[in-house]
Subunit: 649 residues, 2 copies
């Protein structure tokens, strides 16, 4: 639905010998994603990239309507494409032979112009003075061309009636059957096929062979030409950690890792983001490469705009165009990474769905298609830190969309800290044929795991943190009184803070603390290849003890993933419930009840040994909630004891 | 995110005295939704509609980047907007006083031109010969205008650094504090406020009063001017029904109902769809009004294109633009309806989310805002009938996105037949301040309820169909052995067919048959205002009997909605599991196990009285599955006994 042009632009990045022809229908040209993707020409450097030759195919009609672009004046149409930065050529008519010659001649002109632009750009050093105007072609031909001119007295060729099925009633309408026969005979099959119905040799020879066949072309079956990334050792970007005491921005070390990946792989790795590479703390990449920019540059841009004609970061405020370009880049055998604000991933829900469906079929049913690099998406600037933006920027629901797609192709990772993010990202960059979604906030957060611990934890995907638990301290192992699960950075911190309170207030209560990185671990192994077996799930979460789960996203997603589990009716989930504003972190947590104090109350309500015996503690928790909210309202920030909280053990 | 312009276009439809000024930032102008919404000018009739005066505000920068439109040549920019069909004016500069005069003068010229276009169009009969070129303004002014020119020696005004917070460190950077003071003093507050800090009277008098205030303007608080629809009696469009035997296209009677609504309400109801009004069987509306079209018309359009300058149906292949226009139309106090193919509703997920968030806050926290008509969306051409389109058109997951939003504003209806659809639609058209999502397929389906039965069933939202059940036939009521629930047209038919098999094969098994129209009935009343109380839920579904639920959407959505229910661990759900292709209806049902035969197997596996006793029946069901699939594969259609199946009782 309108992504073809951005895909095409993705195929030619760092692919200087490739000219991709992208045919855009005039129906899809009405969609938003296509309407803005014409501007992708501002990111194409004729020296280092190939070129796209877009063909706008004006056949004039959709299912039941004319198209807008076919019904504006020639002058407007030409003006529009000049405005988009192209040099438009028009190929218009309805006589097949004439049109064939006209199209071939125009293609020759366009390809020659592209080659001249490229030769000019490649023949001198120091960049282009002027952004080139690449050609594009407007092809105006009849819809249903060479089909029935009219059916039952109603205009069909060159009209919307030729959409889909121009002749109906093939079982009983003899007149239509005759028209179908006349139509098919108009192509003179007796001259094309021999008496056995086989294509005659002279025509058969026209078909290309080997890699000239579309399916075997290295740019269409891009996995064939995919080179593994030259990966730096991700462990060298680790932060040093004292459990629950160190603070760091979770995404910044990933930026350093990306910088070295981009340094090592200067022509087959690209980073895409809608104007947020710096905001999401990935700006270390600019030490190696800048943002691609072929439009005008000004002197002041030298101070921090990070623009360059040679840049390999693409920033445009269109998630549609970016994702389309990333997909085109991956499908031609390269590697890439896209990141966006979590709430705005919904802009590309439909694109994600279509890519996941394509990947699912491609992987399961098309054995000759070689694996391509995974589609790696980082969601940052997440729901739980909205100190400036608020309610409109709070939506962790992209995960709900992702979990609807085939388990053969979807993966979701929610690393709780910087080292886990490094480990997860390293895994994703090396993988093929998945859509990997990683959720990690960019702000300063508590750190938990050393890089070696992180590797073990992320490889398992789920695990008990015995640093936080106290159910393993007797001589013989015992069942915990409560299992506290968590997933996501802020929910993990609040779950830990709640655990600390419980251990202090109720030292006789045995707490097991479990963190989830790989969300699909929660699903039975019969439903998803990453799922835990029922035995493993019960060993971790117990078959019969209460479970409190503090989740990053909408709470019911956890129920959706665990509804087949033995102990599922004892899983009590906290998560985002559409409550929020421009809040301090604790206010936001309290509004949705994922905060430490509400979690302690949840534990009191669920552990039989506590209940009314813990009435005083519950009262204190309620007091803490009121005090915290009042302080945040008055001072616009959280109490220091909250902001500076560290794990006390 | 890029919807402001389409909103503006919606406000002026049928609003001839309104000129809406829409300011589009050059950041959002990079988004797809905005890039195509410039074309909405092709639907504006200067005789019957008002006008939009778009202002593209080129302040040149986003968070950390220049914008594309600010860095292309003046010639390209002008060409682009001429191509979009506008007459562009440029207001460029940085001296506030000069710019104020220049902007005011340009506004005067633009408004005058709009008025001339309108007077011309309104002064003669018979339609316009030429589509008018409305003016638009390109306003190029510095970002962070009149803020600090530079901070710490780095350019700030007229650069991206002025985004968000130009001066940081207000707690300890005294130099920045001084700059802030100088900046604020540059506005000469001593001339604007009196000694008590109040605005001086001469300035205070400039503020408009009454309905000239933005919040009290009848077009911005549109609920104030909303007129109730003049509704025809929806019952008069009912189809006559013999339970489970009659067939009809479910959406066609809705088309007749819409036709009369549009006839009765010729200036405050609009229908929006992306080229699918006829495909979705709503084309009866064309008997009353056509599709709005101000672009070129051709003689052949008179035969079925249904175009007219006076049309009140809007079709454009951009769900973003359509939904934006609908929202603008509703927010100015009118009524409307939008419909699209189910799978492509994901294109507007993000727009839905933002509207639902806005509505939630507006309703709960802004008492002076008057209620507006509900946002009514029909999803048709659904997942279960993909005889032509296949896998890419199968995605019932929009419901998963909807169920994440506030229960105060979201409603989902899944009427099983034509009369239920009429009843539901009538309810939605009369409601305010909701987002109503209705799912109903357009193909021929079995009909179940007379209009009087439909009204009762839809008003309850969920109910036992005792026509299909056999658990209420003894002298004293008894518990059923199995509860069969269903939701959606095809799942209802398959559940009924399974029930018929069970009643024939196992006459001693008591079946209770429940159909769900209002999806939120499944949620506890503590979680959603439509939710059933726990007592009512248990009365319907029993506290302890097996439940088999055949669902239209992804099966886990039912678990998400019912996870708090007493008997939830006995609910076995069938639904769409991402299995599909271009299939016959039964093939598709079998691939996802929502078909009659698999449902009978599910019942055998869950009812203790059956199990191994029913081994022979299970074997026959498996044989039926194999036979049905083989026949469909060979003949491209289902066995006649499937296609022509009717309820046998």
């Amino acid at each position: 639905m309108g992504y073809s042009l951005s895909h095409a632009y993705g195929t030619v990045l760092d692919n200087p010998d490739l000219i991709t022809i992208a045919v855009a229908g005039d129906g899809e040209a009405e969609t938003g994603p296509l309407a803005t993707s014409w501007h992708a020409n501002k990111f194409i450097n004729p020296a280092r990239d190939g070129a796209v030759l877009p063909i706008l195919h004006l056949n004039g009609y959709k299912i039941a309507n004319p198209t807008i672009l076919a019904r504006i004046s020639h002058e407007e149409l030409e003006s529009l494409f000049r405005g988009y930065g192209y040099k438009p050529y028009f190929v218009e008519g309805s006589d097949p032979t004439e049109m064939h010659q006209l199209m071939a001649a125009t293609m020759d002109v366009a390809i020659k112009e592209i080659q001249e632009i490229q030769q000019e750009a490649r023949s001198h050093q120091g960049g282009l003075l002027n952004r080139p105007r690449f050609p594009m072609i407007v092809l105006r031909s009849p819809k249903g061309w060479t089909g029935p001119k009219s059916v039952d007295g109603r205009k069909t060729e060159d009209f919307w009636r030729s959409h889909q099925v121009p002749l109906s009633g093939m079982h009983d309408n003899l007149e239509h059957v005759q028209m179908l026969e006349d139509w098919m005979r108009s192509y003179r099959p007796e001259e094309l096929f021999d008496q056995e119905g086989k294509l005659i040799p002279v025509l058969k020879e026209l078909a290309p062979t080997g890699q000239r066949r579309m399916s075997a072309n290295l740019n269409t079956n891009g996995g064939l030409q995919r080179q593994k990334l030259r990966m730096p050792d991700f462990r060298s970007f680790a932060v040093s950690v004292e459990f629950g005491k160190t603070e760091a921005e979770n995404t910044r070390p990933l930026g350093n890792f990306l910088r070295e990946i981009m340094r090592n792989n200067p022509s087959n790795f690209r980073l895409f983001g809608p104007d947020e590479t710096a905001s999401n703390r990935l700006n270390a990449v600019y030490e190696v490469t800048k943002k691609a920019w072929m439009a005008e540059m000004r002197p002041e841009d030298l101070d921090g705009s990070e623009l360059s004609q040679e840049g390999r970061v693409i920033e445009m405020l269109s998630e549609h165009t970016l994702l389309g370009m990333l997909e085109g880049y991956l499908l031609t055998g390269r590697h890439g990474f896209i990141h966006t604000y979590e709430a705005f991933a919904h802009v590309i829900d439909s694109m994600f769905n279509q890519h996941a469906k394509w990947l699912d079929i491609s992987k399961r049913e098309i054995p000759w298609r070689a694996p391509v690099s995974s589609w790696n998406l980082l969601l940052s600037s997440t729901v739980w830190r909205q100190d400036h933006n608020g309610f409109s920027h709070q939506d962790p629901g992209f995960l709900d969309v992702v979990t609807n797609k085939s388990p053969d192709v979807v993966r979701i990772y929610m690393p709780p800290d910087a080292n886990c993010l490094l480990s997860v990202a390293n895994h994703c960059f090396n993988s093929t044929d998945y859509t990997n979604v990683i959720v990690s906030d960019k702000q300063k957060h508590l750190q938990y795991l050393s890089i070696d611990q992180a590797i073990k934890h992320c490889t398992k995907g789920i695990g008990i943190w015995d640093w936080a638990s106290n159910d393993d301290q007797g001589v013989e192992p015992d069942e915990p009184d409560i299992v506290i699960g968590c997933c996501g950075d802020i929910p993990t911190r609040e779950a830990l803070a709640a655990t600390a309170i419980i251990r202090e207030e109720f030292p006789y209560i045995k707490v097991r603390f479990i963190n989830v990185v790989d969300l699909f671990k929660l699903v039975p192994d019969s439903e998803h290849p990453h799922g835990l077996s029922e035995v493993d799930f019960c060993t971790l979460f117990t078959p019969d003890k209460p479970i409190l789960f503090n989740f990053h996203g909408y709470p019911w997603l956890i129920h959706k993933l665990t509804y087949r589990r033995t102990n599922q009716h004892r899983i009590h989930v906290r998560g985002y419930k559409e409550k929020g504003n421009i809040n301090t972190p604790l206010e936001l947590a309290i509004a949705n009840q994922i905060d430490r104090f509400n979690l302690v109350i949840d534990v009191i309500d669920r552990v039989p040994k506590l209940g009314s015996r813990a009435g005083n503690v519950k009262e204190r928790m309620k007091n803490n909630i009121i005090e915290s909210c009042n302080y945040a309202y008055e001072h616009g920030k959280d109490l220091d004891e909250i902001t500076n909280w560290v794990w006390p053990y």
